[in-house]
């Protein structure tokens, strides 16, 4: 019966387990030091609904860890990580089986043993393949978003050495005991078999002494890596910290800033590393510097100073500088902004959330940036001039548009329309919330008018606020001017309540997101629907029929605040597919991976950094490459941005989805 002797040729083998225990103890000490650093952060409630959290965590373990959902979006590095991950799982299980069989006296025999040998060898092979891919990528291919440090080299080299010596030990044992009497067994351990063939002619004494030496080398190297990782807090720690970070991930709406309590707040935003919450500090250690966020970031892609990867790594660097291992109390306050990320980086973010979508370990970049902005705006009164102008307009005029851009007044668009405009005392259950851009900017007013016509055609009973509508507060909140947002939210909620409004149809995804997801914290619970959802319902119910043929090749651009923030991907596409003769093509980056138009996070009004490309221009280039004649979207910012960036309007048009619906709606006579 095929089998092998565990700890063959090795005396005091149990020492390995003792050493491992000691090294794990030291590793835990290193981990505890980091835990103490995280604890320096402000409190954050992440243990409520623990049952739900555990359920979600296990789903993440299966989908994001075992199946590598997010990793595999980048095929090469995805497969690379997948092979290393599963290789290690196999080898860990195999080592555990060895230990159990040795101490329990229950030995694997026969074909089970042979399969066990094969699978264990396969584990090592998977790791080697992954390491080879990693080394090729890191040192030869060198993608721009990959930054190599000494730690990477140490880990790659030592893991390679551990696997190779493992095969050599196996080969030496086979050469001494197996290859001649049982060559058919040896082939079931192919990694060892190769070395057994090489060592076959050596004398047993030589084999034994080499075996003993390499066995201890292999074991001590493995333990050494655990020690190193614990003391230097190497990237390898991610095997523990990343799942921990996924466990504590935010379960609420995506990147919804936490309210500031005006009565109690002692600090406004984040000016020092300690002003972050413990979870935000844990985020910094969970980041493995993999660069997926940087690859997805529209600011980085257009040469702006921001890279989400660098931002997180710089914050981490600042944290380590203030609190190196072992942690000593450091009462020196140190200004985070400037020493860590710069103001220019902080203002370059459009809050599109592509970084967070790409991050396999659920690092939450956006709220860190908003917290840093809050500090700049609320505590230091520092912001780009264009941001200040926008915020002043919101404060004085109730909307972010002003001056020459807006020759209209808030209620102008309702002139000569047969619309219910809410006056004092009126009550209505359904409100159409058009948003500032839809009410004030000519091109977007066209869309608003089109929407009202389509809703009327479908027999929807709705009213508008007309000149009584003010901004939802989104641009102020994303720019860190929290109190302005709070004022607007409270004011709007009161208006909704006095008119007994239950259902709010929004045209702008930014309004949609903030009213639906962020107003509830201020006492405003309303049913909020985006018009794309409503139109899809009306089409399904047959209240709208798309009969007109539109001979056009379309692509749909997912607005960030509709897609990534709220998961509305399918309704707009379903609607467009119903238009007769229209062909829908997808851009290279769509749905979860959609590339921002550049207008979010206040950037509709904040001037772009000089000398950099417009984000919308990059997106339009992508639309042109897709060979379509119309780029359709469902957000006023996206539409504005595209209108500005399309140079040749004969070959490519920007349309709002509702305009396409209206075109297809009219029966041709």
């Amino acid at each position: 019966m095929a089998s092998r002797e565990v700890f063959w040729n090795i005396s005091y083998g149990y020492l390995v387990y003792l050493l491992a225990l000691v090294s794990i103890g030291i590793w835990l000490y290193g981990f505890y030091q980091r835990y103490r650093v995280w604890r320096l952060g402000r409190p954050d409630e992440r243990s409520k609904e623990i049952g739900k959290r555990i359920g979600i965590f296990f789903r993440h373990i299966i989908v994001d860890v075992f199946a590598h959902r997010k990793f595999l979006r980048q095929p090469f590095s995805g497969i690379m990580h997948l092979t290393i991950f599963w290789g290690f799982i196999i080898l860990l299980l195999a080592s555990a089986v060895d230990a159990i069989s040795y101490y329990s006296g229950f030995h694997l025999r026969g074909s089970i043993y042979l399969w066990f040998s094969l699978i264990s060898d396969l584990g090592g092979f998977l790791i080697l393949a992954g390491i080879l891919m990693a080394a090729f990528r890191r040192y030869l291919w060198k993608p721009k978003s990959l930054n190599s440090v000494l730690d990477d080299g140490i880990l790659l080299t030592s893991i390679t050495a551990i696997i190779i010596t493992g095969y050599m030990i196996e080969g030496l044992r086979q050469a001494a005991t197996e290859i001649k009497p049982h060559p058919d067994w040896a082939v079931w351990s192919p990694g060892g078999w190769v070395f057994a063939k090489i060592f076959i002619d050596l004398s047993e004494g030589v084999l034994r002494s080499w075996h003993k030496f390499l066995w201890w080398f292999h074991s001590i190297l493995t333990i050494g890596i655990i020690l190193y990782s614990g003391l230097a807090f190497s990237k390898l720690q991610h095997v523990i910290v990343s799942p921990l970070n996924i466990f504590f991930r935010s379960l609420g709406p995506l990147a919804a800033p936490s309210p500031i309590d005006i009565e109690k707040a002692e600090i406004l935003g984040v000016g020092e590393i300690k002003d972050f919450t413990w979870k935000q500090l844990l985020d910094l250690d969970a980041c493995t510097n993999c660069g997926r966020c940087e690859d997805a970031c529209p600011a980085w892609a257009t040469s702006k100073p921001l890279s989400p990867r660098k931002l997180v790594q710089d914050l981490k660097g600042h944290m380590l500088k203030l609190y190196p291992n072992p942690v000593q109390s450091n009462e020196n306050s140190s200004s985070l902004i400037g020493e860590g990320p710069t103001e220019a980086e902080i203002w370059a973010c459009t809050t599109c959330a592509a970084c967070q979508e790409a991050c396999p370990v659920y690092v939450e970049h956006i709220l860190k940036i908003i917290d840093l902005r809050r500090h700049l705006v609320l505590a230091q009164n520092k912001m780009p001039e264009s941001a200040q102008l926008m915020l002043r307009n919101m404060q004085m005029r109730g909307h972010p548009w002003a001056g020459a851009q807006s020759l209209r007044l808030r209620g102008d668009w309702t002139t000569n329309l047969d619309l219910k405009v809410l006056a004092e005392g009126d009550q209505i259950s359904t409100l159409l919330w058009v948003g500032c851009t839809g009410a004030l900017v000519d091109r977007n007013v066209e869309v608003t008018l089109s929407l009202t016509r389509v809703l009327k055609a479908a027999g929807v009973d709705f009213a508008v606020l007309g000149e009584g509508e003010t901004c939802c507060g989104d641009p102020a909140r994303r720019a860190g001017y929290e109190f302005q947002f709070q004022l607007m939210a409270e004011q709007n909620i009161e208006i909704f309540k006095t008119h007994h409004i239950q259902e709010i149809i929004t045209s702008c995804p930014h309004c949609y997101n903030i009213i639906k997801n962020e107003y509830p914290k201020y006492g405003g619970q309303f049913k909020v629907i985006h018009y794309t959802q409503l139109l899809w319902d009306l089409l399904k119910q047959g209240k709208l029929n798309l009969l007109n043929e539109i001979h056009s090749t379309l692509t749909y651009h997912d607005p960030c605040y509709l897609g990534r923030y709220n998961g509305i991907y399918s309704e707009p596409r379903q609607i467009l597919k119903m238009i007769p003769k229209a062909t829908l093509k997808e851009m290279k980056r769509s749905r979860e991976k959609s590339f921002c138009c550049g207008g979010g996070g206040g950037h509709m009004w904040i001037e772009k950094q000089p000398g950099t490309q417009k984000i919308s221009q990059k997106r339009i280039e992508e639309a042109i490459k897709t060979e379509v004649d119309t780029v359709v979207t469902s957000c006023p910012y996206c539409l504005q941005m595209f209108e500005e960036s399309i140079e040749n309007k004969d070959s490519l048009k920007a349309k709002d989805l509702v305009e396409m619906v209206e075109l297809s709606l009219k029966k041709s006579s």
Partner: protein
């Protein structure tokens, strides 16, 4: 140091003129509906100037405004920028006042507040642009008046003010208390930071009637007004565009120069 700033609420000056209507009989401007009331831009700079002095010398800022209930918004805005107290002067008798009447009402309120070192006004209002209230108010209160300030420094009961002139600057000194009107060159007003915004929202803004400030109603009678509006209209503006032609760029330039020379 106690500074009192007089502020006015005006229809948003960013609104295009074509949106306004004129009532030629009542000789009144009718702003379009939905126009947000804003603080007059020069008055906001006056508040900024007061805040800068407060940043440096501590002390107190009081804001007053003659107007309607809507004026509480602009007083609140000044408070969120850094003012401590604010009052709105509202009375039927205060409606349709000319510069003299307005200055009289402000003067009465300032005398009631008392204990001031400096009165600040905008150089003129963003709506009518008369630019008289400040000087008349100084006269009523018997204070030295310095107009068009672009920088104000205070040192032991003495003011050092940089004034804007047509072709430069002038630095003048005056003893305190004094009245200074502020020009936009003083710099951008601050964005109300942090909690000030919320605190201002909750601040009580008392409303003072004529009797509260001891204003003599006969002084405010229209018949006693020093000014009268004879006509009011929206100017029509015409733009003509003429393309200057020429065979070479140099010729185009020559033609343009000769055209311009004729126009001067």
């Amino acid at each position: 140091m106690h500074t009192i700033v007089c502020v006015k609420q005006v229809p948003d000056p960013e609104i295009p003129p074509a949106k306004f209507k004129i009532d030629p009989v009542a000789k009144k401007v009718i702003p379009p509906p939905g126009v947000p009331p804003v603080i007059s831009v020069y008055d906001e700079r006056a508040v900024e100037a007061a805040c800068r002095l407060k940043d440096k010398h501590k002390g107190k800022i009081t804001v007053i405004s003659v107007g309607s209930e809507k004026s509480t918004d602009v007083v609140r805005h000044a408070i969120s920028m850094g003012a401590d107290d604010g009052y709105v002067l509202q009375d039927e008798a205060f409606e349709n006042l000319d510069s003299f009447g307005t200055a009289y009402v402000l003067g009465k309120a300032i005398q009631k507040i008392g204990g001031y070192d400096l009165i600040l006004c905008g150089r003129q209002a963003a709506d009518w642009g008369a630019g008289q209230v400040g000087s008349i108010l100084g006269e009523i209160l018997g204070l030295p008046v310095i107009t068009f300030a672009c920088d104000i420094q205070a040192e032991d009961k003495k003011l050092k003010v940089k004034r804007i002139l047509k072709d430069g600057f002038e630095v003048v000194e005056a003893p305190m208390p004094a009245l200074v009107t502020v020009s936009s060159e003083i710099g951008l007003p601050r964005l109300p930071a942090g909690m000030a915004l919320m605190l201002a929202r909750r601040k009580q803004i008392p409303i003072w009637k004529a009797k509260d400030i001891g204003a003599d109603l006969s002084e405010l009678d229209r018949s006693k007004a020093h000014t009268e509006i004879t006509e009011i209209f929206i100017p029509t503006r015409e733009t003509k565009c003429e393309m200057i032609s020429g065979a070479t760029p140099a010729e185009v330039a020559t033609n343009l120069v000769s055209k311009l020379a004729k126009m001067i």
